[in-house]
Symmetry: C2
Subunit: 725 residues, 2 copies
């Protein structure tokens, strides 16, 4: 009995064999499974005042038993090393090899190599390393191989198994099993310390994220570590949101690293009994994404806003895109959707987008909206098409399309008699954090997102070669769009009303549906202008106080060409936080509040996250609407550059793509462009025809000109800006 | 970083606290989850010649994050101990307690205690032990608690969470975490050993199951352990089905237990190099079920058949009801269905039935038939209603009803244009192991099981208070039954034909649908008689060679009153195996084969299982159709006893129920009955009116009389048997 564990030890034995030169092999698993597994690990690191605080939606699991195979044609016999995380078997051409082989010989010729792996605790994964036989995303995988035999031993030839190409995070080290994955850390030190009570307050100089390390810990008694995003929070031992309590009885001195990483700027260490320590430091924990996008301008405050925004975004870019580091550190779909867009203008890390999309969706059956929030299901659909637009990665759309279908089937099944969505048990209608925001009845904002999601389904169905689906979803989308305008457009108010209750439109106008209608391009030209005037620029309409919805509000205004107005808003709003000493941007900012009021939320004095991904939207807005770069066809095969100074004297920056950067400089006299990818159109508004050497200038309308940008070439365009630009 | 593991250590810390007197508390989890988890553990113990051999269908997982709660009203404050398998939090009235408390204080009054547990590797489970606050199946559980808050911190009051009552295996020891569950073992020793080659052949005297222990193992080199259900198999080192290879380099002597239990009678240990051992023994591994049913008669061969059948059944009753111990050791639904019936006449272990039913069904979504076999999906439905009939446990039906619905939805979705089921990619049409058994087209047997399953759905829908479902499934069932007779009943052949191909009935008559039609009571009286004559007792219809289908064939004949004929068949068939030296009954027995031919199957010389649960059907047949006991209303509230000697001079035995046994003795002169439960009807066929003191005798038809049996009373009935009985 005591040896029962041997089988499960055998599973990792292969991992410690020596390994020759690696050669493009990668750990692989069933697609989406490691993403789901790792998101469980990450999201379950939340604590609230020392109490474990997991998510309230369904957490899914990886498939515990997965079959991998690939056919190879070998010109000569090959020795192949196998590394497996799980209990496994190996078959060559369907013939099992005894035991848990670490090295196998595959003869020359055409052969099918299969590994079947069981792992309940971690994701079944394999790493196969031969000269030509290597594991990668070209392998096929399934969670039910349906290979039965008849009484004579003949294997069924009509199994009907569905195979899908394997998933991977490009883990290229065979000795690093996927479950051991951790973000890297580097030591950081406090910039200032002061004696407080029976301990020390350490200031790390700015918002940060990592593990506290206590040096020279000793004695008997207790130690409390109180984390603060603000000084006030760290000092409030009974109200700070996160903490560590240690009970100690140490004979000597030791260094001790806390088990969970935390978000903080200040750390208050307090001792009881004889406990003491020499000092604390931190292990800064970060995702190793590369800073590819940039922005710099004549306005130093704006530059600071951009830098702090990108730092905010970096801190919240982890195994996945999270909301904020102090409190939830969860994957919220609405928050992540904005992170995707920021990412395309900063790190351009496609992997983190894919991971986050897999993790959010989890497994079938769908039993609730994503994060239980109706609007958050819709952002998930939108994020997938955006991903395709920015990367051109059709394979991912095909991989995830079945889970798009099942989520949409769930949503379609919740329509009311009018074909609209309204609250049902289990739904959270979020929209935004705002007092007195009605969620009752059929909210126009949700229908708008629903229509956009159906359009997205239609586009993705095409990419996944589901022609019928493309047509059906397209039809459903256009019917819903028509219905939205029939039911919610108020000819009198010249805007979309907020909702219908008991089948009747309310009189209430809010910004949400109206601003999304702008950049969804759902309005005609007249409607756009009236929405801009009657809603967006109307101070009588309830103001937005979260950077979350300011993202879309400012985007809508930029789409309407209001870059100068938006520039002032950005400087006021994000500049306002900087003036209050922010070193990262917040979950919510209401300029009307004062002092410690800014720290409170959710009825708790330090409930608010002072480092929230959705606070970082200038990263997106400046790249997308000032540098003015965006893809036209997927993966930047074609793209446009429409620089807009918005009142700046000059600006310059880079917008990354998967194949290199698009560099833009713009002053009131000239525009310089250099691109590593595709074919671009530079659109310039100029009183007179711009001058550029080595390219043609085409006039496309009054005072608007277009110049074709070829990759690898420098363009320097002289122009004369219009008044106000 | 190195302390990250602390959080996960904390999870088990509570387990080692001292615990006061236990008091009806039990480990609890989300219902069905431990069953699914443990079935993964058990089913992944299969090996084939040292190679890991997992199932080919989808393995599901437990929910990794589960919330448990219950409301208590305490007359005085209470100290409550908490034991948790997983990372957890504890809330009293929604207020979290910091850390991972092992003991909490609950004040007097009405309070809600909640624990939320995360565990990826094992099933999230809790054990709560106070004076009155204890964990049991009255707790509610959910995998999505949907408890969100608004910006003010107010918890949503309309979450729509679905709670279900917790599951349990009645684990009453807080220090024994569920994942540590193992079947008990006891040492057994070989009855004979002989020198063979460079080692020893050990004979354990009869078929058995357990872990081989090697005593005094020493030296350097290899050891091979070759298992055999037959002597031939153990001696065939290159063809035996299971083995263990050890590579050793030991400095001293040690005892070593093999990691996996195996099924065998013979064990051949062979040594290479300097490896040697003093001896081997085994740790017999068994499910601690109680032998409650019994049967004894005037026929010694029959008694031996009964004993070997029950031993066969015992060996295959493990964590779940498995098929056989040597090879698959999996939960096959068709095999398990027969085990349920045998169980009701032997161990009456309700828990193993429930576990097996949960484990087979797994989680949604349904992506294939159970075990991928169409017929096996249907047996699963039938097993649930049988369970209710024998135990009266309505709660279980209610718990599992949603998964019955989703499986039936899957099946309904696979009907062809004629509303019938035929092979589709992914389906295995099994029916039985038999050469040339056609699986083509619309097989009548599958439609018959489908109809019966729909009837079962209708019955269970009623029990689960789904009135609409009860009506809908009932309607669908009666339509299908009518269609079966319209399409498959051959007026010329006076039997059901085997199939329709391309919309036309074939001429082929097989036993399957016809024998099931008998005990499903689908035929009218004339049809029954013609089926009996034209099919069941017709040697021109292909014979059945597996005990699996003999189960149903003999059952159909017993239903038709052919106990004397069946007795001869039993003695021939099972007696035939005994004459060949069987110490347990086989997967297949064809009296026409000779010698080692009996050991082969699946194209392998020792492929056949010589200890297969479906070989044990006499356990059922003798209790059900000879002692003649069966429930009429659920849980034996009412029941019938119709003894049938089938040619025996006398027989006696016990049939267990959940509340005690029903004891029957029957000779050609008298019948004695004593029952611990319900109200029974003893039906006696007698030429003259039977005589019994203390009870009335009612004549119900010519030569048939009925006596009401009250519990706890002895009845002794004098009667005069009819000719031939």
């Amino acid at each position: 009995m005591k040896y029962r564990i041997c089988l499960f030890l055998a599973l990792t034995a292969g991992l410690f064999a020596d390994h020759a030169q690696a050669q493009k092999a990668s750990w692989i698993w069933y697609p989406g499974d490691f993403d789901i597994y790792m998101s469980n690990v990450m999201q379950n690191r939340r604590t609230e005042r020392g109490s474990f605080f997991p998510v309230f939606w369904k957490m899914d699991s990886h498939y515990v038993l997965v079959d991998f195979h690939k056919e190879f044609i070998l010109s000569q016999p090959e020795e192949v090393k196998l590394y497996v995380e799980g209990t496994y078997n190996v078959k060559i051409d369907g013939q099992a090899i005894s035991g848990f082989p670490k090295t196998i010989q595959i003869p020359a010729g055409k052969h099918k190599l299969s590994l079947k792996v069981y792992n309940q605790a971690h994701v079944p994964a394999i790493f196969v390393q031969g000269k030509t036989v290597v594991s990668d995303e070209t392998w096929l995988s399934t969670f039910e191989d349906k290979e039965w035999i008849d009484a004579s031993g003949k294997t069924s030839d009509k199994s009907g198994t569905t195979f899908v190409s394997a998933g991977s995070w490009n883990f290229a080290d065979p000795l690093m099993v996927p479950s051991a994955f951790k973000l890297p850390v580097i030591p950081h030190f406090a910039v200032k310390t002061e004696k407080i009570g029976k301990g020390t307050l350490s200031d790390f100089g700015k918002q940060t994220f990592g593990f506290i390390k206590v040096h020279g810990l000793r004695g008997k008694g207790k130690m409390g570590i109180y984390y603060g995003e603000s000084r006030e929070e760290a000092l409030s031992t009974d109200k700070c949101e996160t903490l560590d309590y240690l009970e100690l009885d140490l004979s000597g001195k030791k260094d001790s690293v806390m088990p969970l990483s935390k978000a903080f700027r200040y750390v208050n260490t307090q001792y009881e009994g004889t406990v003491a320590a020499d000092s604390i430091s931190m292990l800064y924990e970060y995702a190793p994404v590369t800073d590819k996008g940039s922005f710099k301008s004549s306005d130093e405050e704006l530059n600071k806003i951009y830098d702090v925004a990108k730092y905010t975004f970096r801190l919240n870019t982890r195994e996945f895109f999270i909301d904020g580091g102090k409190r939830d550190r969860w994957i919220w779909s609405g928050d992540a959707y904005q992170s995707y867009l920021m990412n395309y203008y900063s790190f351009f890390d496609a992997e983190t987008v894919k991971r986050t999309l897999w993790a959010q969706r989890g497994k079938d059956p769908v039993t609730a909206h994503i994060n239980t929030i109706m609007d958050y299901s819709f952002y998930w659909f939108l994020g997938i098409y955006d991903y395709y637009k920015f990367t051109g990665d059709q394979k991912f759309v095909q991989d995830i399309y079945p889970r798009m279908q099942s989520l949409m089937t769930y949503i379609d099944g919740r329509r009311n008699k009018s074909g609209l969505l309204e609250w049902m048990p289990g739904d959270w209608i979020f929209i935004d954090w705002a007092d007195k925001l009605s969620k009752e009845g059929e909210v126009s904002f949700e229908q708008l997102l629903y229509a956009r999601s159906l359009e997205t389904m239609s586009l993705c169905a095409k990419l996944a070669n589901d022609k019928q689906g493309a047509e059906r979803y397209g039809q459903q989308a256009s019917e819903l769009r028509k219905k939205i305008f029939d039911l919610y457009w108020s000819p009198r108010k010249q805007a979309l009303v907020h909702s219908r209750i008991n089948g009747r439109p309310t009189e209430n106008i809010t910004r949400y549906a109206n601003m999304f209608g702008i950049f969804f391009d759902y309005f005609n030209a007249d409607q756009k202008q009236s929405v801009k005037k009657n809603v967006l620029l109307n101070d009588n309409i309830s103001k937005i106080t979260t950077p979350y919805m300011r993202f879309y509000e400012l985007e809508a205004l930029c789409v309407m060409g209001e870059q100068s107005y938006v520039m002032k808003e950005m400087k006021n709003y994000w500049g306002g936080m900087l003036k209050l000493g922010a070193t990262s941007f917040w979950e919510e900012y209401n300029p009307g509040k004062k002092g410690a009021e800014h720290l409170a939320m959710y009825g708790r004095p330090f409930g608010k996250s002072l480092c929230h991904a959705w606070g970082a939207s200038p990263v997106y807005l400046l790249g997308r609407y000032y540098l003015g770069v965006q893809p036209v066809t997927p993966g930047y095969e074609t793209y446009t550059i429409e620089p807009n100074l918005g009142g700046l004297a000059w600006m310059e920056g880079k917008v990354p793509t998967k194949n290199g950067d698009i560099e833009v400089y713009c002053s009131k006299k000239e525009i310089k462009v250099r691109s590593a990818v595709g074919v671009g159109k530079l659109r310039v508004k100029s009183k007179s025809r711009p001058v550029v050497s080595g390219a043609e200038v085409t006039r496309i309308s009054k005072e608007t000109y277009e110049i074709t940008i070829q990759k690898g070439k420098d363009y320097r365009v002289k122009y004369s800006p219009l008044k106000g630009d």
